[in-house]
């Protein structure tokens, strides 16, 4: 029952729907990402981007199917699911007194028996992840004493220690300045290429989305209204219709589209 996806970590979402109370937040959303690819979900505020990510992570009730390598992720129990899918929320809760090392070590939870404790292997994995993210010097630093960019890297470290083939990142550049946004996304891209991770992010910055993603999915109130490579989705008519934005889109040096805001003409 594979959806025609090769390798490990390919995702296919079919007919996904989410009701919050009486309100239908997502309806019949479908998408598919190949192993090692980067898919970014864009859309106006309230379109359901975060909800889609949370539904894919199995954190909220939904209808439809989420297949990871053809396995129905929603049918899995939390532990095996956490070995397949790592999820980092937009505003992760970072206990201020916890150390960076102990926080990253939490990513090993799906490998530790219910009443067991961390093994030497769990510590090794954690240490090597911290080293890869240049966080070794921060290992004993408390989470409450980190800057915004460091926090994002630490959250990423926790997701990576999970050693899951799929990485779901909800707005990984929230509250970061331009340079740190670039650093974090470059880092994600490097890790993706090195480990053949499948990356699904939400991003509200359309230029960043266009620069990094292989595939974009445009959500507009609860439905996937467009999907495909960036230049097919980041078009002036689609952005005007779904974001209500006056924009000019032109191809950048590498052929990826660049979105420029323009002032309305009646001015």
């Amino acid at each position: 029952m594979s959806g025609g996806i090769e390798g490990s970590g390919g995702i296919e979402v079919r007919g996904l729907g989410v009701m919050l109370g009486e309100r239908e937040v997502l309806a019949d959303v479908g998408l598919s990402v190949g192993c090692g690819e980067w898919l970014t979900i864009i859309g106006p505020n309230g379109a359901g981007k975060s909800t889609l990510l949370r539904a894919m992570a199995g954190l909220i009730a939904c209808t439809g199917e989420v297949l990871v390598d053809g396995v129905r992720a929603r049918r899995l129990r939390p532990r095996p699911r956490a070995r397949l899918i790592a999820y980092a929320p937009q505003n992760p809760l970072l206990p201020p007194d916890m150390s960076v090392y102990d926080y990253a070590l939490l990513g090993r939870t799906p490998y530790i028996p219910y009443l067991g404790r961390e093994s030497a292997r769990d510590r090794e994995v954690t240490e090597s992840v911290l080293e890869r993210l240049d966080l070794t010097g921060f290992a004993s630093r408390r989470l409450g004493h980190l800057s915004g960019g460091e926090r994002q890297r630490v959250v990423l470290a926790r997701a990576l220690t999970q050693q899951a083939p799929v990485l779901l990142l909800d707005e990984p550049t929230t509250a970061l300045d331009l340079g740190h946004q670039q650093q974090v996304l470059e880092l994600v891209d490097r890790l993706r290429l090195a480990d053949r991770l499948t990356v699904v992010t939400t991003l509200h910055d359309l230029n960043l989305a266009g620069q990094y993603a292989d595939t974009l999915v445009l959500l507009a109130p609860g439905r996937a209204v467009a999907s495909g490579p960036p230049k097919q989705v980041l078009t002036e008519p689609l952005l005007a219709r779904h974001f209500g934005a006056h924009v000019r889109v032109e191809p950048g040096a590498d052929g990826r589209p660049l979105v420029h805001l323009t002032r309305p003409e009646e001015r």
């Binding site: 009701m19 919050l20 109370g21 909800t51 949370r54 992570a57 199995g58 954190l59 909220i60 009730a61 129990r77 939390p78 532990r79 095996p80 699911r81 956490a82 070995r83 899918i85 790592a86 999820y87 929320p89 992760p92 809760l93 970072l94 206990p95 007194d97 916890m98 102990d102 926080y103 939490l106 990513g107 939870t109 799906p110 530790i112 219910y114 009443l115 404790r117 510590r123 004993s140 999970q162």
Partner: protein, 351 residues
């Protein structure tokens, strides 16, 4: 690793403090038994050791029928309240959560009042711990049932379990007011028993061996279960939804900790009455001194809580000797200002 090393050190320090408090608790009393005699008498009780403590039979009786069980009960009640407090604080991710939060105190208050008013006399005295225990458990179950039904009615899935925890606390408040109202009504029926009711409410650890044996099994089970869940409470500290994404069956883990903490609270209430502040102050101090991890906070709170209550009992029976202060008055009197001081200190460190 550092976590385990600091846990070992913290436990060692706490155990040393507890040992000193236990010794003080055994040595102090109206009868003025010689410390040497007490030490020898205790040694004599050890297997394969036989020494003559040189105590009169009356002194032996005071030591083994009054002081030893009293100190043991104080230690057990203090340890249980402190570890239950730490457990609740982990489940609700709120350092001010309290062992009496979910209606345990009100439930026990009501059942004890019912027993004192309607049974009275000798039967009443024997039935008090049983009534307190079942009342505390009943109060928690009632709060839990109410919280579940209220949670199902509104909200929806999106609120997740964070909303569930808040609903549960609110249900606890509702149950507490309701049960307290009934309790007040019942105690008005027999005003002459007010003193006995209040004596219980303000706490007392002056029971005998039968009290020790009655709560020992529950104390053991709840403490072991809580201690086993230290790592899981650490995982839960990043929030329920993230804990689920990390592969933890968060709702189940939370429920187990909640039940174990409630059982610990009920055991403590059954023999000690309502002793305030231990469950908040002790874990808070432990967290300040020994670290954030529940793998440290739970065991060190248990030992620290035991030491704290033995000391509080010592104060309660010596300040006004030969009269006794209710122990709950002592813990509140010591605990409240101490709590404020800790809060001020922690703010000074942070800024």
């Amino acid at each position: 690793m550092t976590l385990l090393r600091s846990r070992g050190l913290a436990l060692l320090v706490a155990a040393a403090v507890l040992a000193v408090c236990l010794a003080l608790g055994l040595l102090t009393g109206a009868a003025g038994i010689s410390p040497r005699g007490i030490a020898l008498a205790l040694l004599d009780r050890l297997p394969f050791v036989s020494v003559d403590p040189g105590l009169t039979p009356a002194e032996q009786g005071i030591l083994f029928q009054l002081r030893v069980p009293r100190v043991l009960i104080a230690a057990m009640v203090g340890g249980l309240l402190a570890i239950a407090g730490a457990g609740y604080q982990g489940v609700f991710r709120n350092p001010l959560a309290d062992p009496y939060l979910l209606g345990a105190a009100a439930g026990a208050g009501l059942t004890v009042t019912l027993v004192v008013v309607f049974l009275g006399g000798r039967v009443g005295v024997i039935a008090v711990p049983v009534a307190a225990f079942s009342g505390a458990i009943g109060g928690v179950l009632l709060a839990y049932a109410l919280g579940r039904s209220a949670g199902r009615g509104g909200g929806g899935v999106g609120g997740g379990a964070g909303g569930g925890a808040a609903t549960l606390v609110l249900a606890g408040v509702a149950v507490t007011s309701f049960l307290t109202a009934i309790q007040t009504f019942v105690q008005q029926l027999k005003v002459e028993e007010l003193q006995r009711i209040y004596a219980w409410i303000l706490g007392d650890v002056g029971g005998g061996w039968e009290d020790v044996w009655m709560i020992a099994p529950y104390a053991l089970v709840s403490t072991v279960v809580l201690l086993l869940h230290g790592r899981l409470l650490d995982v839960l500290s990043v929030g329920e939804e993230e804990a689920v994404s990390l592969g933890l069956h968060a709702a189940r883990a939370r429920m187990i900790v909640l039940l174990a903490a409630s059982l610990a609270t009920a055991s403590a209430v059954a023999v000690g009455g309502l002793i305030a502040f231990v469950g908040i102050v002790v874990p808070h101090v432990v967290r300040r001194l020994a670290g954030w991890s529940y793998r440290i906070v739970l065991p060190v709170s248990f030992v620290g809580g035991a030491a704290f209550l033995v000391l509080a009992d010592l104060i309660a029976r010596s300040v006004l000797a030969p009269a006794e202060l209710p122990i709950g008055v002592v813990t509140a009197f010591v605990g409240a200002p101490f709590f404020v001081m800790v809060l001020r200190m922690s703010r000074a460190v942070n800024t």
